[in-house]
Subunit: 874 residues, 2 copies
């Protein structure tokens, strides 16, 4: 029979998956002989069973729980539901990973009207007994039954006012009895039945509440953000109560072995006398710092410090602990690796190595890669942030904090920026024409589009804070205002954006600039030493390339040539090319684009020196380069010397029903080979130029996008090779180059053995591959993905975390088939997933040579690649 209930001494820290973090650590501490109140853990498997059995607890689990209770009754000499000597327990959730969204604790479970009397009599402390009972009613009502907390707080406040006291602790036993009666009456009125007096009923309801809380919306959201599968389940910890509310020699507190904000090696914590549970953090009374305990209770302090040190040594990491003092006796209720800021994480990791506690490799595993974002972007001043009110939440598309005045188009942003204003660009959605405004803005906010929309991709490349797809905003771009949460925000008003959380504030919040300490460089050097995968950046111009280099990029994995065409001086030439009606006209227009494009590549090569650069040929459908608004169309028609009607006809003829699945990628090069010719010429001429001028040995990697069939690749490759060889021959200079393809169409993955006959490298374009494999577009999925998360169908955004089961299967298939044909084929990834730690680990596991991501994510990818290498060695 499956064992669903473990007594604390039956478990250990290694059983985290089964017992949850809290349960495993309580077991470990029990075995270390630390003062832990006895208890047991109901496993995460029991949680999964609960859901399999349509949200009921099967009998075999019930039996095991009862055996657990019997054990507690035996060791304590108390009895659950006994009127004289009741066994009281706490019920707490605890999953494999720390999950802030989960259920709060229920303390003092086991109390009812009689047992409270019994406890009062037995302890001779009626105030304690009634305080415990009123707390239990409060917690059970809120946490298990979902009655809102504030009503209970209001009742307490009313009683305090009536009694003329200020603090909860000033309420006498009789006052608390009154409170209990009021609480119970409120409960019965709201729930429709009396407050449950049977402790077994109380317990089973509480356990089911923990299981249910695993699928509450907060938990689902948190899991999605942190890539935690719902199959992990949560454990439930049932632990005998110890009481911090027995008087002035009792208390409860929380402490960190080091400072979680800075990493400083100094104990950091607070406690509160005569208190229980959340009192410490609730801010009703001001807690004391842990140092004060040395004076208050020196022996307890010594024991506490001793155990804290042992725990840190044992877990080799900074610990976050909860403790309770019951009449001068110290108990530990929990320990876990403490959450910390990125700066603290780096300092702790580096210090632990210096203290000899960790090897460098172990230290590399101690920092969450995603956390590094904090170090690279501005953040809100934490004091200012506390007072700010969130007015809307969108997708956290590009991290960092930004505050500034709202403008609704790129031109206005430019003008305001010239006036020296801090600016936030707000758009329904951005288009490539907004690039300049985006570069000048402190932050970008869009109403539509997902994590890989134009705004999101470009902003991440620039390292600019961006919130995308904020649908709560009702936009009026023409009249330059938007409304949200009942407010109207006009042009010039201040707003603030937190690109790391997606939160929007309708005020000007102070930001602080990021600062990188020496620890960073030291730590990243350790990571780089163990890493086997290369990390490249996606960069489209010399500025982004420079950024990328500074963040440690070892090459460019994706240079999107189309972004180059959107600048004011080029878009005109591009449009002329698109509006050409003959190949001859098109070739003439392309000749004008050639020198511009060549200059761009020269700039990038000069920055990257001999590091590899992969250039992707033109990818987006041509209509993206044409204006859509009446005025702009009229201007262009005049400019091009054609009638408005004729221009509109041309624009209409380029219209597509599903642009994502339209005339784009290599399909452009198949229909207009002269475009690919021009681009190949620019790439090769630039490389030859830089080789001549600087002596760099450059090996351009020319990447043909959106290939689905080898003959398609072969056709475009022939165009590229013919041009490239001609340019090389003319120059009289020797130059190597590679021609490869993106694998971003399912058919390319399925036929990768054939594709590899022509492709010298594969770069996985996992954005498009995800779209095609799932059959939904990133721009439209927002309309239904929320329902999918709520129904636990998808647990995370497949555009943020690579779907290893489906998309990953295609990637793996392509890797295997590609290698069959060309054993040394160069393999990398250049989709957004290249900067996502779990996806990076997948890339390592299947043996890719590099990942490529936006410049600001390069450090994250470096660390994630290092951690993947270490984990896979183990």
């Amino acid at each position: 029979m499956t064992k669903y209930v473990y007594l604390f001494h039956e478990g250990n820290a290694a059983m985290r998956d089964l017992l949850g973090g809290k349960g495993a650590n309580l077991a470990e501490m029990t075995n270390l002989g630390m003062p832990i109140p006895q208890g047991f853990t109901i496993t995460t498997e029991a949680c999964n069973r609960y859901y399999e059995e349509n949200e009921t607890i099967p009998d075999e689990i019930l039996t095991q729980i009862e055996e657990g209770i019997a054990y507690l009754e035996k060791v304590s000499g108390k009895k659950l539901g006994d009127n004289q000597n009741p066994l009281l327990v706490s019920i707490r959730s605890g999953s494999r990973a720390s999950m802030p969204g989960m259920m709060d604790t229920v303390l003092n479970l086991g109390l009812n009207d009689q047992a409270a009397e019994g406890l009062a009599a037995k302890t001779g402390n009626p105030r304690f007994a009634y305080d415990s009972y009123r707390r239990f009613i409060q917690m059970f009502s809120d946490v298990v039954m979902g009655l809102p907390k504030p009503t209970f707080e209001k009742i307490i406040d009313e009683v305090k006012e009536q009694k003329g006291v200020h603090l909860d602790t000033e309420l006498a036993a009789a006052d608390l009895q009154e409170l209990i009666a009021l609480f119970k009456a409120h409960y019965e009125k709201e729930i429709g039945s009396p407050f449950p007096q049977n402790p077994k009923v109380q317990m089973m309801e509480a356990i089911k509440a923990v299981f249910r809380s695993w699928n509450n919306p907060r938990a689902i959201y948190y899991r999605r953000q942190n890539d935690i599968p719902s199959t992990w389940g949560t454990a439930v910890n049932v632990q005998m109560m110890v009481f911090g509310n027995m008087g002035d020699t009792s208390g409860t507190g929380v402490a960190f072995t080091r400072n979680p904000a800075t990493g400083e090696k100094k104990i950091f914590g607070e406690y509160l006398i005569n208190a229980q549970g959340e009192d410490v953090v609730a801010g009703i009374r001001t807690p004391k710092t842990i140092a004060t305990l040395e004076q208050d209770m020196p022996e307890v302090y010594k024991e506490f410090m001793d155990i804290a040190k042992r725990l840190e040594m044992h877990y080799k990491d900074m610990q976050d602990m909860e403790f309770t003092i019951e009449e001068k006796k110290l108990y530990f209720l929990q320990t876990r690796n403490g959450k910390r800021t990125a700066a603290a994480a780096l300092k702790v990791a580096v210090d632990l190595v210096d203290e000899g506690m960790l090897t460098e490799e172990e230290a590399v595993l101690k920092v969450e890669p995603k956390q590094l974002d904090q170090l690279l972007h501005p953040a809100f001043d934490s004091a200012a942030l506390k007072k700010a009110k969130v007015v809307a939440t969108g997708l956290p598309a590009s991290p960092g904090a930004a505050a500034g005045r709202v403008y609704f188009n790129a031109e206005d942003v430019k003008a305001a920026s010239l006036r020296g204003e801090r600016v936030i660009l707000v758009r329904l959605e951005t288009s490539p024409e907004d690039i300049e405004g985006m570069a000048l803005a402190q932050g970008i906010l869009t109403c539509r589009g997902g994590m890989t929309s134009h705004a999101a991709v470009v902003a991440r490349g620039m390292g600019t804070c961006c919130i995308a797809g904020c649908g709560e905003i009702k936009m009026n771009e023409e009249e330059k205002y938007f409304t949200v949460a009942g407010l109207t925000i006009k042009e010039g008003d201040y707003i603030s954006l937190d690109g790391s959380t997606g939160k929007v504030y309708a005020e000007d919040i102070k930001t602080t600039e990021p600062s990188i300490s020496g620890d960073f460089a030291r730590f990243m050097a350790w990571a780089d030493r163990v890493r086997t995968m290369k990390v490249r950046a996606n960069a489209d111009n010399p500025r982004d390339a420079k950024n990328a280099l500074e963040f440690g990029a070892e090459g460019i994995g994706l240079c999107r040539t189309e972004h180059m065409f959107f600048q004011e001086d080029r878009i005109h030439k591009m449009r002329k090319m698109i509006l050409s009606s003959t190949e001859e006209e098109r070739r003439a227009a392309l000749m004008e684009l050639l020198p511009v494009q060549r200059e761009d590549f020269i700039g990038i090569y000069e920055v990257m020196a001999e590091k590899p650069v992969t250039v992707r040929l033109l990818d987006p459908p041509l209509h993206e380069f044409l204006p859509q608004e009446e005025e702009a169309i009229a201007d262009l028609a005049k400019d091009m010397n054609m009638s408005v009607a004729k221009l509109k006809e041309k624009i209409a003829s380029l219209h597509e029903f599903n642009p994502m699945m339209g005339h784009r990628g290599c399909r452009l090069a198949v229909t207009y080979p002269e475009i690919a010719e021009m681009q190949a010429r620019a790439i090769i001429e630039a490389a030859i130029h830089v080789k001549k001028e600087k002596g760099y040995q450059i090996v351009p990697e020319i990447m043909i996008p959106l290939v689905g069939e080898v003959k398609e690749l072969k056709f475009v490759k022939n165009v590229v090779v013919k041009t490239a060889d001609e340019v090389i021959r003319e120059s009289g200079i020797d130059l190597q180059y590679l021609v490869g393809t993106m694998i971003e169409i399912p058919r390319a993955a399925l036929t990768a053995d054939k594709i590899a006959q022509e492709a010298e490298f594969f770069s996985f374009g996992t954005n498009d591959l995800t779209q095609m494999t799932f059959g939904f577009s990133r721009d439209d999925a927002g309309n239904f993905l929320e329902a999918y998360y709520q129904r636990a169908i998808y647990e995370s955004d497949p555009f943020a975390h690579l779907d290893q089961e489906g998309v990953g299967q295609l990637v793996q298939m392509a890797v295997e088939k590609g290698r069959q044909t060309r054993p040394n084929i160069k393999l990398g990834i250049c989709g957004e997933h290249g900067g996502d730690p779990s996806s990076v680990e997948f890339c390592h596991r299947i043996g890719l040579a590099y990942v490529s991501c936006s410049p600001f994510r390069v450090p994250i990818a470096r660390l994630a690649a290092a951690q993947a290498a270490i984990k896979n060695l183990r």
Copy 2:
């Protein structure tokens, strides 16, 4: 060393792949001892080599060709290029399949100024010698060098006029010499060099021209239409000349062993005295019927009839033969299985069985499945058609012929139809609101959309002639006219459509109704006997279902519930549902749709009796049900009692960037489970009703579309099962039903093992699967696919013929994975490919239980399935 050249006696009929049809049959006839001028065949592999070597003929092939010539010189005693006794040859292409688009023949190759003199001297027939030379110059110039034919015809006409003669045969030897001089001058003027005098140069140029013709646009188009891969290549036949132009005891002709129009067992052919090559079909002189030959040259006639009979017995099929008589000696130049009408094909097949020449199984293989279309749809009167002029060509979306007055919207069609007019509906593209107009129209013509666009799919379902995506037409729907080929066609003007070829005519062409003979039923019964795969139909209403049954459908594989909602009385209820702002409102609107939907299913079940019916839950995005035009929006707003602004906001909120990859399919049921509930209720209630009323044992198959993840399927399935079980329980009647899914998203195929945990059947939706696997939408691919065909990247439309390499790989993977989990899982296909013979064969090979296609394609699918079964047994 590879053998690239085969003498005729080295080959046989089985070597068709290597020698082409013509070469293999010439070899076969040689071995049968028939009178065949000697020659050799250059293989199809040589053609492929030619392309591999960048359009040059490698030396090893040249050497073998020279050996072939040497052999011919030896057996004939003549010499290529000899001035006294020149060897003359014909050069003809011949691929594995008959390809009308290929190169024409070059006769009399080997002649030059001297050789012509020599031939004149040797034969004592200068007229013959000069006639042969002028013909050679003409053919070489046209076929090999691409000089337009009409110029040569014009020169002949001028000379004839000058000489005062009427027929070519009346030109004397001297006249022909003049003609030769004029031809050569014209050649030199146009080509820039004199007419080649070296016979080896002539020959190599002609051979290369054959190879080149394999990739001319006509050939590419023909291959695409007929699913012939470009890798087959073409062979070249070099054959010694025999001459039908040596005088009145010579001639040339073509004949069929049976009548190719009716199948009647009676020789059918024509010949022309003193003629060569194309003279018979060129219509310059009126040819004589083959019967006349009995009087003209009784011995030749007897020999001819004897050989013709032997050939038919040998090939067990009606033969199409070419022959030449040289001074009373009969030669055969070609035999092949004759092309024939569908009616003739059936009659020949049935007759050959009755004559004991074929078994029933062999007969089943003799009819092209696609040809059956001809029997099921109206056709143009062939005399009327000959005089008609094609003004545009679109996609042949639904076969048949139609003529009528043009109307531009469904309402006008309806009105005209009530007046008794024959009507053609012309639209930019159709939408579901046009259904009624489409049903009333004789034919449908659209400017946009592909073979699987709305218009195409619906028209095929109805059996109505349709041409889709006819981009040459410039449309003005508002002012009700279109322009094409310089004509303006207004409302009420007549046009005619050929839905089998895509040709549009700007006139009223007489049509003839289809008629099905007794042969059809007999023949199809043989096919059904050997067939192992079931054939179902896609039908959305009782009328289509009835049609399907008449064509032999064994069930409904796809009933698209959305089509039911577009009728006038329902669209209103549907829109009310869509515009609901709460679940409550939506449920109320759904309750109004329930009885309507139930009635539809009752109607279908009553028609289908106990045959299986697969019903697909709502699939298209909701915005498809809302109007887009100002006026219609205003009407609807009034109707719904909401402001125009609010309605527009709602419509805008439903807008999608890529509707194909948007909020549709099961995604609707995930967000609005109440829709799936209503549909499940309607399906089950209808089945129970029919069971009660008629006693039919119906097992509804409920199909959940667009699934990509098993949890998604499980969620919707739970909704369906809960409702269905409730309805069954309430009814007190026992009813079985199945819940399955479409496999149309790549991820579903990749995770089919998991999907099969929940799905009781898979139906492959290969339209969407093709879109997602290739990453292009069927509606947009028209913009670039033409370039892909021209560049031989794709050889056929992947929406018409299943792409077995890519899409097929996913289908096969899903079949295997699905069976791993659920060995008896029911497997079928319901995409458009279900009616395409090559795709049907693929389905048979991978072991699907059934294919489902539009009702009018059911006979095609039945025959294709039978042929697949026979071929796979062999």
